[in-house]
């Protein structure tokens, strides 16, 4: 049998560049470590080009366990964007923290390829393998600052809890396999079609356990408790990557698994998603209000955004009809990636050595000291708070629109009311930056060019998508799941 490697071409390019970076690390002198970052960027851009070249393909490979469809290509594009922005954030950060080691980029590339694979997986086994691939990389990356206690704490917490959640997921998968006799998603679907009214408790238990596993990675309430500590303790570029990448990987695999393999149980799992969405929106936003550390506030805000994304999961049917949540989820993620990584990038710039300056008072008077940095931060925050003319507005608009068209006004109303709460904590950062004078603790600092590049990509993307969202929207609407 001839294996069609083009099915996983983008993933392959990223994985290969990880190996290239690892080998180059052996031969490069210490002073040349920056070159590893550029090599990684090269690999990510090459993979992005591969995604563009393959854009109209629709096929599956490796005995149907991996698929290449509009959905996996679109998510791959986002993952690669996340990777590129993360590497740009990391270059100077690593030098500042004296942890400029080659492994870092190898692990980042490993994470990205694992996430891409998870969104393309069409079998329970591959979903789990991909999940473990990127999770293990992140365990190491979260604790990469060996000398900082918070980073150690983050790594350990994430490792223990994530292993626990993985076990839930695996147990659920095992039960599902035991009931349906297959790990392939289409095979599970066709089995369930014949036995729809079984009402077998084993299948329901499997369903519930898998939802727990995914909800953990999505950081949906009540499985979110690890998020603030891990996000706060991890190196900021890694937090930025996790807050978007891990979530997207979990949401993408969840959609593929539940929409393709388990439509027969739609009424059951969708009720749980409704509950998760409500809880996540309300608690995520309320908890963010009382945070005085901007990095920790952004961690809670990323929980809140998971709530809005769950609305899109709730309405997801994968058939491309007018109330289908899948395109709105993909579109939201593009914008979410830009604004969230951008905001964490500013936190990295303001935080400086040891991330000692991430509290609100360190942002006081920033507008006078760093007018442009404050301006882009304001843009990211307005976008997170979904103000037009920034792109964040269109993300929420589309999600709420699909909710209403699917006849679920209650989700949109709760979404809207919690958004008002979110306005409060996002604008609080802006009023510290613009309306408060600097405190004595405020030292002058410079923003390195690589970080600026990342911020400009994010900010430019948000303005362009705010005024002309049509192009990416149309792409998202054509990014169908391969059935």
């Amino acid at each position: 049998m001839i294996v069609d490697y083009t099915v996983i071409l983008p993933e392959l390019i990223v994985a290969l560049s990880a190996i290239v970076v690892m080998l180059a690390d052996l031969f490069l002198p210490r002073s040349q470590r920056r070159a590893l970052a550029y090599l990684s960027l090269l690999g990510l851009v090459a993979a992005f080009i591969a995604v563009i070249v393959l854009r109209d393909d629709n096929k599956s490979g490796f005995s149907g366990s991996v698929v290449l469809d509009g959905f996996s290509l679109f998510t791959s594009g986002i993952f690669l964007l996340v990777g590129i922005l993360t590497v740009l954030l990391s270059i100077d950060y690593l030098e500042l923290e004296h942890i400029n080691l080659g492994e870092y980029y190898v692990l980042v590339l490993g994470t990205i390829s694992g996430m891409m694979l998870m969104a393309a997986a069409n079998s329970l086994i591959v979903i789990f393998l991909a999940l473990e691939l990127f999770s293990i990389c992140i365990y190491v990356l979260a604790g990469f600052e060996r000398t900082r206690d918070r980073s150690q704490e983050a790594a350990l917490k994430y490792f223990l809890l994530s292993a626990f959640a993985s076990a839930f997921l695996l147990y659920g998968m095992a039960l599902t396999y035991g009931e349906t006799g297959s790990t392939s998603l289409p095979a599970i679907a066709s089995y369930l079609k014949g036995h729809v009214a079984t009402g077998d408790p084993i299948l329901y238990a499997g369903l519930a356990l898998m939802i727990v596993g995914f909800a953990f990675k999505m950081s949906a309430v009540p499985f979110h408790t690890w998020t603030p500590d891990v996000y706060e303790g991890s190196p900021t570029p890694i937090t930025a990557m996790m807050s978007v990448g891990t979530k997207l990987a979990a949401f993408a695999a969840f959609l593929r698994l539940f929409v393709i393999a388990l439509p027969a149980l739609h009424a059951h799992w969708v009720a749980l998603i409704w509950l998760l969405a409500m809880l996540t929106m309300v608690l995520g936003n309320l908890a963010a209000v009382v945070q005085n550390d901007v990095k920790r506030m952004l961690a809670y805000s990323s929980i809140a955004h998971a709530g809005y994304l769950l609305i899109a999961v709730y309405t997801a049917r994968g058939d491309g009809s007018s109330g289908d949540g899948v395109p709105s989820l993909l579109f939201y993620f593009v914008i979410y990636a830009l604004m969230n990584i951008g905001a964490f990038g500013v936190v990295a710039a303001v935080g400086r050595t040891g991330e000692a300056n991430t509290r609100l008072e360190h942002f006081a008077g920033l507008a006078r000291r760093q007018p442009w940095l404050s301006a882009v931060m304001a843009l990211f925050l307005f976008s997170l708070a979904s103000f037009p003319p920034t792109a964040g507005f269109w993300g929420k608009f589309y999600v709420f629109q699909t909710a209403l068209q699917a006849g679920h006004g209650e989700l949109a109303v709760v979404g809207v009311l919690t958004s008002v709460v979110s306005v409060y904590y996002y604008l609080r950062v802006i009023f510290y930056m613009y309306f408060r004078p600097s405190t004595d603790a405020a030292l002058p600092f410079t923003v390195p060019p690589a970080l600026w590049t990342s911020l400009i990509i994010s900010a430019g993307g948000l303005i362009v998508l705010g005024l002309w969202p049509s192009g990416v929207l149309t792409l998202a609407q054509h990014a169908m799941l391969l059935h």
Binding site: S322, P388, A412
Partner: protein
């Protein structure tokens, strides 16, 4: 033409931000730009030929986000041209007042002001509901900075209060817009399409409420008025002018443009309730104004009853009421802007805003006192000045709808005389107040400053055009009423009945 009208302020905003390196340069660019914008609007107004929205003589439509059925659809009719004109008149006034009262980061402030103007023009021209919402929310970003950076001591509180207050309403309106889209057949965000296929009466009510809440908060309808004294009181003079003059009219415009024609049945159903709320607001706001010692807060509170009056006219659902409300929206914008400009002049001159410390303006600066008198009379609805024409029409309309509400409104007119005259007398009459005595005065006692010493050229330029407009509209209201009347007639056909 409409594109030019919309783009000009944004272009000027960028120019001011980048080129306005000194205070004078920033003010000069902003002033020239806003005067150009005024010229464009006057040209538009002069070409007004009684067209309605559906006749489509001023209509720009282009696909924008076809995936979401959102179009870039702008159009102007008799009602919106008046709101555009008001925006265009008050922006240069605001620029002038900013130029003479604040110097901190002028280029940033003025570019925010012009960005705000651009967004307001977008609000007043958008026919696509999503485009309308896009501009409606975009207004909040410059508003937040203008309040939070350049204002009084409690400015941060005021800024947050304003944004959060309006956000609650606006986001529910967003749900209303989305609901309207989901319920309409065929699905559309376009006002003209939606007017052609109205919703069934029982579905109209919840959607109407979502819209009315957003507009009611912006227009400070009782009981959503409590942000007004804090926000106007803490805002810088220039910000107070544009906020009270134009931003509060966004809610009035929304009532007129969307609530009435889109939900005629719900408007009839809720009109009695809103009339009562408006009547309460008139009395309550007047009592609040009577209770203030600070002249800036007094003027701020005075806008609550005036906006109540306008709301009364709209929800009388009668031709005269709607016509008068439209005109009164313009009138109130002009009058309140002049009041805030005068308050700024008095407080900077004498360093006090407390009525107990003021007095004797007529002795030291009779020209300023005379201007102040005309503006005060306009605010209390003196015949011959602009306020009268609007108020009388509103009262005629309201009498037809509900006599009791109209009687309450008439009491409001009396109360308005009380607080406006108290303001005028407290500032102008009597002996020189403690603040006036304390301020250094090179003139010997008993002498009067020459007219060029009483006010600077910029100060004259910021007040006199408004006084001219007050007299003009007061003596010759027909030219201003015709566009309002043509709108009132077109909306009455949608409302069905009571011509």
């Amino acid at each position: 033409m409409l594109q030019l009208e919309l783009i000009t302020p944004f272009a000027v905003a960028i120019a001011v931000l980048l080129l306005g390196v000194t205070h004078r340069a920033a003010v000069a660019i902003a002033l020239l730009g806003s005067l150009f914008s005024l010229g464009v609007t006057i040209a538009l107004f002069s070409k007004y030929d009684g067209a309605t929205l559906s006749s489509g003589s001023w209509d720009v439509s282009a696909p924008w986000i076809s995936a979401l059925h959102v179009n870039f659809h702008l159009a102007v009719d008799g009602m919106s041209i008046l709101f555009l004109l008001l925006t265009a008149i008050l922006t240069p006034i605001s620029v002038l007042v900013a130029g003479s009262t604040q110097r901190d980061r002028s280029n940033v402030y003025l570019s925010m002001l012009l960005f705000l103007q651009g967004a307001l023009i977008g609000v007043f021209m958008s026919i696509d509901l999503v485009l309308f919402y896009f501009f409606w929310e975009a207004v909040l970003i410059p508003a937040y900075f203008m309040l939070g950076i350049w204002g009084g001591e409690r400015r941060i509180y005021a800024a947050l209060k304003y944004v959060l207050y309006t956000m609650v309403g606006s986001l529910l309106m967003l749900v209303g817009i989305l609901l309207l889209f989901a319920l309409s057949t065929p699905h559309s965000f376009d006002l003209l399409d939606l007017m052609a296929h109205p919703l069934s009466p029982d579905v109209q009510r919840p959607v109407f409420l979502a819209f009315a809440l957003a507009f009611g908060i912006k227009a400070a309808v009782f009981p959503f008025h409590s942000w007004v004294p804090d926000v106007y009181g803490e805002a810088s003079p220039s910000t107070a002018i544009i906020f009270s003059g134009v931003l509060s009219k966004m809610g009035i415009y929304g009532f007129l443009r969307f609530c009435l024609p889109l939900f005629p049945a719900a408007a009839h159903y809720y009109a009695p309730l809103i009339l009562v709320l408006a009547a309460i607001g008139i009395i309550y706001g007047a009592l609040l104004a009577l209770d203030q010692r600070d002249i800036k807060r007094l003027v701020a509170c005075s806008s609550i009853p005036h906006l109540g009056f306008i709301t009364l006219g709209i929800f009388s659902l009668r031709s005269q009421g709607i016509e008068g409300a439209t005109l009164q929206a313009v009138n109130h914008g002009i009058t309140i802007a002049a009041l805030f400009a005068l308050v700024a002049i008095i407080t900077t001159k004498w360093g006090a805003a407390d009525l107990d410390k003021l007095g004797g303006l007529a002795v030291k600066a009779p020209i300023v006192a005379a201007i102040f008198l005309v503006v005060s009379l306009s605010a209390l609805g003196m015949p011959g000045l602009n306020g009268f024409a609007g108020e009388i029409l509103i009262l005629i309309g309201t009498f037809q709808a509900n006599a009791a509400d109209a009687v309450v409104g008439t009491i409001g007119v009396v109360l308005a005389s009380a607080y406006m005259l108290r303001l005028f007398q407290g500032v102008s009459h009597g002996p020189l107040g403690p603040a006036g005595k304390a301020s250094p005065d090179p003139l010997p006692p008993g002498t009067v400053a020459s007219w060029w010493d009483q006010l600077s050229l910029a100060e004259y330029a910021s007040v006199l055009p408004l006084v001219v407009l007050m007299v003009w509209i007061g003596v010759q209201p027909a030219g201003w009423l015709d566009p309002a009347l043509s709108y009132a007639n077109s909306v009455l056909t949608a409302l069905g009945g009571h011509p």
